[in-house]
């Protein structure tokens, strides 16, 4: 059954991908990209990768669509006539695809319990999570502790992306505060129905974000997903009430502080492990009981991830929106 669903979803994904390449209207392309992300998320879910599915849905279908739309507001909806050689690109892509297909000939059977990925490190993770960390969600244990250094790196990837956008867009003239004239219609404030429905939704989205943040140890979730969800709630607020009002709630300086603070919190937990006599990112030394220490460490670093992701996503959103206001 999984295979049938998988083939169905992947076929839809293929059709969407072709449509994205073929359309000349960038607005349509952005919408289709959102659909493609949702299809990928569904596929991940089908493969029992609920954590990745949640991230893909929140980031791919949610936030990146908003950012793409922000970019389109600055540029144009129509694609310019291509300047590059299409045949060459097509040949390169086909060649790469053929190699990937060639690589699948000897791959382990789908879902096989004898696959090397199932027999080497995975049993150790499944086995030792209970002993060392004692939380039900092994994915969180791997991401937060066993391979916590990678996750720290990912937080800094997000942070670097945020710095990049701020660096490129901050140099724009008049990037500072310029309040909208009173009485003007900002956002969707004149449209009653989206406003009422949106306002009703926002508290629940925020609550769900917090749930995803703190429930990551038990079920799918964690800082990345929660950060994206909380950011989405505030972006929704900005769309409804105008960007200025959203900035009054959380000013730019605070967002920058969140982005940097989350990364510092994560790194700080790692350094604390060092100072208490362990290695970098060794949470066992954070409490008298190593298992308790691991749990505390994961809770703290997930909070750091959430802060940075929320801060960076909102900073990027506001940077684009501010640029759009001048245009």
């Amino acid at each position: 059954m999984t295979v049938v669903f998988g083939i169905f979803l992947l076929t839809l994904l293929l059709i969407t991908a072709v449509a994205i390449v073929r359309t000349k209207n960038l607005f349509v392309a952005v919408m289709l990209m959102g659909i493609a992300s949702l299809l990928i998320a569904a596929n991940f879910f089908l493969l029992d990768a609920a954590d990745v599915a949640l991230t893909e849905a929140a980031v791919g279908a949610g936030i990146s669509t908003v950012l793409f739309l922000g970019t389109l507001a600055l540029t144009t909806e129509r694609e310019r006539a291509p300047t590059s050689r299409k045949i060459l690109s097509f040949a390169v892509v086909s060649a790469a695809a053929l190699v990937v297909i060639y690589a699948t000939f000897d791959k382990p059977r789908f879902g096989s319990p004898d696959a090397p990925t199932q027999t080497h490190v995975a049993p150790w993770y499944l086995d030792k999570t209970r002993e060392f960390i004692d939380i039900p969600n092994v994915v969180t244990a791997v991401l937060g502790s066993f391979r916590g250094y990678d996750t720290l790196g990912e937080v800094f990837v997000v942070f670097a992306a945020g710095i990049g956008v701020l660096f490129l867009l901050a140099g724009a003239p008049g990037g500072g505060k310029r309040p909208a004239p009173p009485g003007s219609d900002v956002g969707l404030s004149r449209h009653l129905i989206p406003r009422v429905v949106g306002r009703l939704l926002i508290p629940f989205i925020l609550l769900f974000g917090l749930y995803v943040q703190f429930h990551g140890e038990y079920g799918p979730g964690g800082g990345f997903q929660a950060g994206a969800i909380v950011a989405a709630a505030i972006v929704l607020y900005a769309l409804l009430e105008g960007e200025e009002k959203a900035l009054q709630v959380i000013p730019r300086r605070v967002l920058l502080g969140l982005s940097a603070g989350g990364a510092i919190l994560y790194g700080g937990v790692g350094v604390a492990g060092m100072l208490l006599g362990g290695n970098f990112l060794d949470y066992s030394v954070l409490a008298d009981d190593p298992v308790k220490g691991q749990q505390t460490g994961i809770l703290l670093i997930e909070a750091g991830v959430g802060l940075t992701v929320t801060g960076v996503l909102l900073s990027i959103f506001h940077a684009f929106a501010a640029r759009g206001r001048q245009a």
Binding site: F156, I163, G164, A170, A260, G273
Partner: protein, 495 residues
Amino acid sequence: MNALTAHLPALQVIVPMLMAPFVVLLRARNLPWVAATATSLLAFSIAVRLTMIVTDGKPVSYRMGSWAPPYGIELQVDALSALVLLVVTGASSLALIGGRESLAKVISADREPYFFAAWLLALAGMAGIVVSADAFNIFVFMEISSLASYVLVAGGPDRRALPATFKYLIMGTIGATFYLIGVGLIYMMTGTLNLADMELRVHEVADQKPILAAAGFITVGLALKAAIFPLHVWLPNAYTYAPHVVTAFLAACATKVALYVLLRFDFFVFQQNLIGHEFQFAAYLMPLAILGILIGSAVAMFERNIKRMLAFSSVAQIGYMMLGASFVTATGLTAATLHMFNHALAKGGLFLAIAAIAIVTAGCRLSDIAGLARRMPWTFAALVVAGLSLIGVPGTAGFVSKWYLIDAALELETGGAALVALILVSSLMAVVYVWRIVEAACFGEPAERRAASVPPALAIVLWAAAIANLGFGIAPGLPLSLSATAADILLGHVQ
């Protein structure tokens, strides 16, 4: 003190990385620069300390989060990594110390915190790649260093920096994605990400199609990142339009880090396991190296923009490193790794000289520097020293690595003489393009200049680089012993 020493491999990465978010929050003018420079110098001293520890040939290992590999992430520093770490942190420190005025001209005060934070992230990313012993972890840090380098290049003085960055971004992302696909395929077949563990486990499945495809993806992806001919198209514009000091930093180390991963992956994981890999490695990479050397040098000979000229020269120099590696012999690998170090000295010195010249001139074309040598004799003297090292004149660092390369070529059973001829011809081509700079500067008709002088800090680091080119040419002991050990380590994995 001893406890601190044990943490050095981790500190090498996390000191610059964790300073970045603090730098973003600094608002006072020049303070971000001060913080970044101090951090970079600290990173350099860590690299020096690590080098002292590993010179006897014994690698240092570190377990992140105290988890044993392959379950947790392992860091490892050996002679090869120490050499590259010295280059990365040294280039960053020299460029930062000398670059304050040069950068202040192109980066406005409100963008300074972001810029220097990105600089530290680029430094941390490259250091993270070098010390990592985990295939996926390398990818993560590749992303950090790439994103940060795009920001640095985009800081360039005119808008042409933006399309150059975009091209760099697209190419870099394709390279990283190819690498990730390759790592994913290997993980599918071995279930591990730790390089040492991978080396053992890949053996059983070495003849299977996913591993072959993975070797291809990883080689091509990293070749794209390392700008190996013909995958170098992103490099000339990125180097030309980046701020001068950024070019000095990136030209000295960015491509070398990718080359380092390529060598490590290839020699540790593939060489001994894939049948006939040794031959294929040579058969594919040697022609590319030769073409890169010839075409890169030829384009440089006719280029009028000095920065672009030197960028194409970099394509040729990467060719030398690949040529040495493609011999798969101890001498060849010594030459390749030594040339990483020496080329960083020469090219870093040249780009620092350009940063100094650009304080006075309007642009970086040959016509802009006409007759300038009379006004800036010291700057041009340093430029000539670095240029001689690039050519490979005896007494400079560049000579030592070319000597080893010729030595390695002569050890070959066939074609050695032809390769020696190639190296000599391409060195003559380097004479031509370096001479064109000198000729314009010494004999051109001087035009009106801005009344500015080279900041003392820049003059000092420029001369430090020039003297290093001479010093490591006369007494190449340290880099030579490191690269000889590195070659042994790499070949130790080949049976």
